[in-house]
């Protein structure tokens, strides 16, 4: 299990390859990647991600540990960035390795659902001189009830 919280960009291909390499007993690797998107206003300049150092790592570790307890997983990787990002930049990724694909898919979805509303990150959007905090969505909270 590897949990990384960093400001620097990460190399999705290199991370995915390293994660998948040499796993003779794992038939499935699922990766999810979050990207800064500009849907609402089409003039997003930047997205700033704030986090709670210490608690962030602890919360992500707890969520990943829960995923390993619930599904048959060989490994879990979570990388999440903070700081100022631009549209198109990679924000975060999760990867799960499992003997069978269903475990890998479900665990990756579980990680994402929990990470969205239980890991202490906050997003602020900057567009055209104005800025505002992204509000949490009810549907993100509702998504937790299915687990």
């Amino acid at each position: 299990m590897r949990i990384v919280v960093q400001q620097a960009p990460f190399d999705l291909g290199a991370e995915a390859n390293a994660f998948a390499a040499g796993r003779r007993d794992m038939g499935a690797v699922v990766t999810f990647t979050g990207i800064v998107r500009d849907l609402a206003s089409a003039d997003l300049d930047a997205m700033e991600i704030e986090h709670y150092p210490g608690m962030t790592e602890a919360a992500l570790t707890e969520i990943a540990t829960e995923a390993r307890d619930r599904w048959s997983l060989g490994d879990v990787l979570v990388i999440h960035r903070f700081g100022r990002l631009c549209p198109g930049d990679l924000i975060m990724m999760v990867a799960t390795a499992a003997p069978h694909r269903r475990d890998a898919f479900e665990a990756a979805e579980f990680l994402m659902d929990y990470l969205k509303s239980r890991a202490p990150f906050w997003k602020k959007e900057h567009s055209g001189g104005a800025s505002g905090w992204v509000a949490a969505k009810d549907e993100d909270e509702d998504a937790l009830t299915r687990w």
Binding site: Y52, A58, A59, A119, P120, F121, K123
Partner: protein, 81 residues
């Protein structure tokens, strides 16, 4: 104890962290003390349903006891991913 603020709570109060001497028994008691300080605190804590709290870096509720707590953090609902 150390009291930390994140996102718009930090902006509204105007600082990320402060040392608070308190005898508050619960998070709710601490909130009452902070609210009574100044308008910027009252504004930040006006609607507790819009806030989340962590005690010693664990998410908890406003009725949580503060006995032995070293760090309390207030912030809006999280928006990771």
């Amino acid at each position: 104890m150390d009291v930390l603020y994140f996102a718009w709570v930090r902006e509204r109060i105007g600082l990320p962290k402060e040392r608070v001497e308190t005898q508050a028994a619960t998070v709710a008691d601490l909130v009452e003390e902070l609210r009574a300080r100044e308008a910027r605190y009252a504004a930040a804590f006006a609607d507790l349903s819009a806030l989340r709290v962590a005690v010693d870096q664990k998410l908890t509720g406003f009725d949580a006891p503060l006995d032995g707590a070293r760090e309390v953090a207030f912030f809006p609902p999280m928006t990771g991913g």
